[in-house]
Amino acid sequence: MSALFGLLRKEAYHILRDRRTLAVLIFMPVVQVMLFGFSIRTDVRDVRLVIVDPTPDATTLEIRNRFAAGGVFRIVGVSRTEEPLEPLFRTDSAQVGLVFEAGFGRHLAAGDPAQLLVITDATEPNTGTSRQFYVSAVIQQYESDLALRSGAVRITPQVRSRFNPTRESTNLFVPGLMAMVLTIIAALMTALSLTREKETGTMEALLVSPLRPWQIIVGKVAPYLAIGFLATLAVLLVARVVFRVPMEGSLVLLLGEGTLFILVALSLGILVSARTSSQRVAMLAAMMGTMLPTQMLSGFIFPLESMPRPLQWISIIVPARWFVFIARGIMLKGVGLAYLWRETLVLAAMTLVLLVASVRSFRVRLQ
């Protein structure tokens, strides 16, 4: 029987017998999609709005009604003075404050500039900005309606958000989440599985055998490639069924690119484990070296364009950055390999370099 087959079978036993880890590997992707899908939302919904209206009249009431009607805002308080605002913001009861100046309606009717103060809780800057954007949109809409009524000429821009018309944050993060999950499974698990052999002493028995480094590495990589592939399917399935994330392009291409990305992550994991000797160190190295960059520098949560230049440069060597771009392209824009070949090539080159590096740095002797 061939040595490689023996290695694969042994690895399969390890994975299948460690039920707890296996369950984590299978359920973690699903749980993560659910968590991200339901909790981490950057789209604006159910915003707690407090209105300060010293002189209520027909004009301010109409504006208030427009805020109440949209579904984005929920009016949690109306006051005549500004005093209640501060405590409401501090206790997180209010997220946006809308302060009409005294005599707002009168000024407007007289053709004078009417002042309106918009206060947002900017603890989270991105969501704060989105809320401001929504508030302005409501006011602008009112303004342009007013202009139409008075017969004045107005330019009314029609805004369309391509590829994600309803601005669902789920659509944006699912590709990034795939990268995260695959990094954890591929990089972390292989790094742990190889260093475990070093810790328990079984590496000594493997090394003294005629097994070549590439055989040991392939034996470790192949089973996790399979698990990673299943995890990709699970993430896509949940994203599709629960969050209705679109799949504009080819599913086959996406799975192919996913497999390529798993290979990159696996070779990273092997490289980490070739250079560490304990599971604890391997875990830290895998976290710092792969998961953190995947989370921070892939454009998954934080847009790359708004990062300082040096970080943008660093992101070039983060595999997840390229995969997230590819996955978003395929899922949301429906583009194919004709457009994505450059990014695909980058991933392929990374795999090659990392695999060669890990075979080379694999020590055929003990320390």
Binding site: M1, R9, Y13, A205
Partner: protein, 316 residues
Amino acid sequence: MSEAPVVVDDVVKRYGEVAAVDHVTAEVRHGELFGFIGPDGAGKTTLFRILTTLLLPDSGSARVLGRDVVTDLWALRREIGYMPGRFSLYPDLSVRENLDFFASVFGTTVAREYEHIAPIYSQLEEFNDRRAAALSGGMKQKLALCCALVHRPNILFLDEPTTGVDAVSRREFWELLARMRTSGLTIVVSTPYMDEANRCDRVALMQNGRILATDAPAAVAASFERTLLAVRSPDRYRVLLALRDYPHTQRVYPFGESLHLADDRAGIDAARASSEATAFLHDKGFTDARVEPTPPTIEDVFISRMSAVNAPVAAA
């Protein structure tokens, strides 16, 4: 037959300041059961790892089966069987799965090698489906031995195979080795247990990375150059203290149930030495102490050759 299966020439391996193996030169002959005997930290494991291609020596050279352990590692790894000192099988795999795996690594199967490993494997077969983690210490060692033998190696290295194993299993294990030796297989074994030295054809005594003596066990024991007396007394500790003041004491130390006293006068008659020691103890008030000549063992040789600093007098 050509070159000896193991030729070690002036090998040194350092870990920082400490020389784990310090200018070791040794030779193991064909078909021999050869033992490296020494306490923990003597450098046995490091030497074994160098011989099994797992470590590079800092200087010196070693040849196993006529192949250099540094340059010819891939050919050597096919031919040697090695059982590491630390249990190195997969605890989550069953007995049979472990064996199947190590057979597959060498491109063979358990079925094909069955007859070869049957003498040992037959004792394990009833536990085929048991996970290696759930085996007793003795069973684990037998399984490890099976795994090291499954590819029909031309030489076998066993690093402390009986450490942490109960007395009965230890004896069984040595009987297995003796049986395997009759097939002509060269076996190199290490052990910290002096009493196991007699099971070997030849032994090398190791201490602090150096070899103190190499010979047949009986010859090593016979090399003890002093007259050795065994002293028995119910009050062993106070007798030990008293004997330190005996003018002819070269060294006195606890040995099993008794005390061993090496007389510092070269070539003195054993009967005279024991009667003088008896008289000395009587004067000190130990009237029930019994002194008689005793043949030196390898352990006595070992203790006598260790540096004075390490003399285990304080161990009482």
